[in-house]
């Protein structure tokens, strides 16, 4: 039987679990979140671990803030074995400490770098591709379906950019919503929050049409290049992009 260690589906729980495994020299065959259904040859193990901030501080002290951020990005990804990658990264980081990132020849390091770059990249793209609609009562409302769990990352971005606005961003893939009330934002499950109005403001269609006009006009016909456009703006995002969704 393979031992699969189970953590509650959040980053702090995962780190506490890995800390425990490392300390007790337990080698996991896999680490998965609480929703995981084991196969016939797997055995789920749920340990009762007290969450301790000191464990996290200890990890940061040993691997440095940069590495900590990187494994957080990996955690936000949809990579199949992300937990094991983080485990092996931390195992090696205990040996190489802050120099761990220079060891690109280790698979766990190159994987952490590859995946974290991918997450940062998608988050950066979404900062541009996200489209708000204005609902009644001046509420800005956006939906998206990103590959990675970037709702928190982009909420931080709009928290300072649109700080005097009420806005809501919904991740349709994970069924979670970020709500901003002009002071701060919180992220909640879709089922725990009902949006009072879904009606667009009177001005909305008008502005959308202005934007579509601009979009159509700004492309130079003699330089038309669909392949290039698609490389930069992959089709998987088009569903929510006001100016191109009709082209799908």
């Amino acid at each position: 039987m393979k031992n699969v260690y189970i953590y509650e589906n959040d980053f702090i729980s995962l780190l506490n679990l890995i800390f425990y495994l490392l300390k007790n020299k337990l080698k996991p065959e896999n680490i998965k979140n609480e929703f995981y259904t084991p196969s016939l040859f797997e055995n789920n193990i749920t340990l009762t671990i007290t969450k301790n901030e000191k464990n996290i501080e200890w990890i940061i002290k040993n691997i440095g803030k940069y590495s900590m951020k990187s494994i957080y990005y990996v955690f936000l990804s949809e990579e199949e074995n992300k937990e094991l990658i983080i485990y092996y990264f931390l195992l090696n980081a205990l040996k190489y400490r802050q120099k761990i990132m220079y060891h690109r020849n280790l698979k766990c390091v190159s994987e952490v770098l590859r995946i974290s770059e991918y997450v940062i990249h998608e988050s950066h793209k979404m900062k541009g591709f996200l489209r708000f609609k204005e609902l009644e009562k001046n509420i800005l409302y956006a939906e998206m379906e990103p590959t990675n769990d970037i709702l928190y990352l982009i909420s931080c971005h709009f928290n300072s950019r649109l700080k005097n606005e009420l806005w809501i961003i919904k991740d349709n893939r994970r069924k979670i919503i970020s709500i901003h009330d002009k002071k701060q934002f919180i992220i909640v499950k879709e089922k725990d929050f009902e949006i009072s109005t879904q009606k667009e403001s009177i001005n909305e269609k008008n502005i959308e049409n202005l934007w579509k006009t601009f979009y159509k006009t700004i492309g130079i016909k003699e330089r038309k290049n669909d392949r290039c456009r698609m490389n930069f703006m992959p089709k998987k995002y088009w569903k929510y992009i006001t100016e191109v969704k009709k082209e799908l």
């Binding site: 690109r104 900062k127 541009g128 330089r223 290049n225 930069f232 100016e243 191109v244």
Partner: protein
């Protein structure tokens, strides 16, 4: 006239400006709306594949000049429009709130006089900044021949200020834009360079030139760029392939804008700014134009094959940069990595090296990656060109 139609006219007249970058400024949101992201953010991509990050419009397409290449020249019989400052603010803010754009790119035809046009630009942008507390990115065009006082005002409101040199040489300008004087353009650049700081044009200045409307060679163009970078500390020179809009005896008649040439110029521009190349490394008066089939770096490497292959584990940073298929990022990764381990060929891929190109030019631990007998100019050239070509063909199939 309806706002929709105005926007159509004034975006259409602005679209030939190549610059769209929104990077280099980190203006904060001081209790208003918007901030600048120092990396720049692309919000959309137009049908021509160019990034849209700014609302790129003209304040007006009325113009007192008659520059041959320009859509808005006085003698063209086209619909004219002018935005009011409030209209520009409304569109910008509404687009920005919906995250359509990263900011505003405001240029203008010259109406009445350079000073009058500048004053209109200043009025519009200060309304946006002060009344509406807009802290997003703004790129404005400075109007050549205006009073330096106005340059001072406009520059302290925007993130980037630019003046287009339009054509690569003064002769070209005299031929096609006789009312524009190159000294007026360089005066703006000089002024911005001398005053640039965190509060004045924080994202620096850029310029653009039209490629293929006049007869300059790539060598002349690159020399001009290189001297602009040196003299005025420009952030970017943009190259805009000439799109034949007007018919004129002085203009060439082209079927297609010279897009490959434009691409080669951008590649070479990068080599100048980040790869430590000089114009004379790439071109000379006997060889004044870039190879259309090969990128400038590969072309250079094939002409200097005696300097290759280079050993990945020992050669200097600048030597790494000279290897086709290795960029600034991968070169830096190689340098930091090889302090801790010996780099093998399989590590290179993970560092972002394009092996398809690099493999002909490198040694890894003393070993040439492909067959040593094939280390010949003709062989490598043929393979790279054919490789690129089959790649293009594959793309076309889809």
């Amino acid at each position: 006239m309806e706002l929709q139609e105005k926007l159509k006219i004034l975006a259409d007249s602005a679209k030939y400006d190549a610059s769209c970058s929104s990077s280099g400024s980190n203006r904060k949101n001081k209790d208003g709306i918007g901030n600048a992201a120092s990396s720049g953010i692309c919000h959309s991509f137009a049908s021509d594949g160019r990034c849209i990050s700014l609302l790129k419009i003209l304040l007006t397409n009325c113009c007192i000049y008659d520059c041959k290449y320009c859509l808005n020249r006085k003698s063209n019989n086209i619909k004219r429009a002018i935005f009011t400052p409030e209209e520009i603010c409304t569109i910008t803010l509404n687009f920005y709130r919906r995250n359509y754009i990263e900011g505003l790119f405001l240029s203008s035809g010259i109406i009445k006089s350079p000073d009058y046009t500048m004053e209109l630009l200043i009025k519009t942008i200060s309304l946006l900044r002060n009344k509406y507390k807009f802290n997003g990115y703004i790129h404005a065009k400075a109007i050549p021949g205006c009073n330096p006082k106005l340059l001072k005002q406009l520059g302290s409101l925007v993130d980037r200020l630019s003046a287009n040199i339009e054509l690569p040489t003064e002769n070209g300008l005299k031929l096609l834009a006789p009312s524009k004087e190159s000294k007026n353009i360089s005066q703006i650049m000089e002024y911005v360079k001398n005053n640039q700081n965190k509060k004045y044009v924080p994202a620096g200045q850029s310029t653009q030139m039209i490629i293929g409307a006049t007869k300059e060679t790539d060598f002349e163009i690159m020399n001009q760029s290189s001297s602009l970078y040196d003299k005025y500390k420009l952030k970017r020179v943009f190259y805009s392939a000439y799109v034949p809009i007007n018919k004129d005896n002085l203009l060439p008649s082209l079927e297609q804008p010279p897009l490959v040439r434009e691409n080669r110029l951008y590649q070479a521009d990068w080599l100048l700014r980040f790869y430590n190349f000089k114009v004379t490394d790439l071109l000379d008066s006997k060889n004044p134009n870039f190879n259309i089939l090969l990128d400038p770096k590969t072309d250079w490497a094939l002409r200097h094959l005696n300097e290759f292959p280079k050993e990945i584990n020992t050669c200097s940073y600048y030597d790494l940069l000279k290897i086709p298929g290795i960029g600034v990022k991968s070169a830096k990764r190689i340098i930091t990595s090889r302090k801790t381990f010996t780099i093998h060929i399989e590590d290179l891929k993970r560092m972002g090296v394009v092996l398809k190109r690099a493999k002909y030019f490198i040694l890894c631990n003393g070993k040439y990656v492909t067959n040593k007998d094939n280390f010949k100019k003709e062989y490598i050239e043929k393979n790279i060109v054919l490789g690129d070509f089959s790649h293009i063909e594959q793309l076309r199939l889809f």
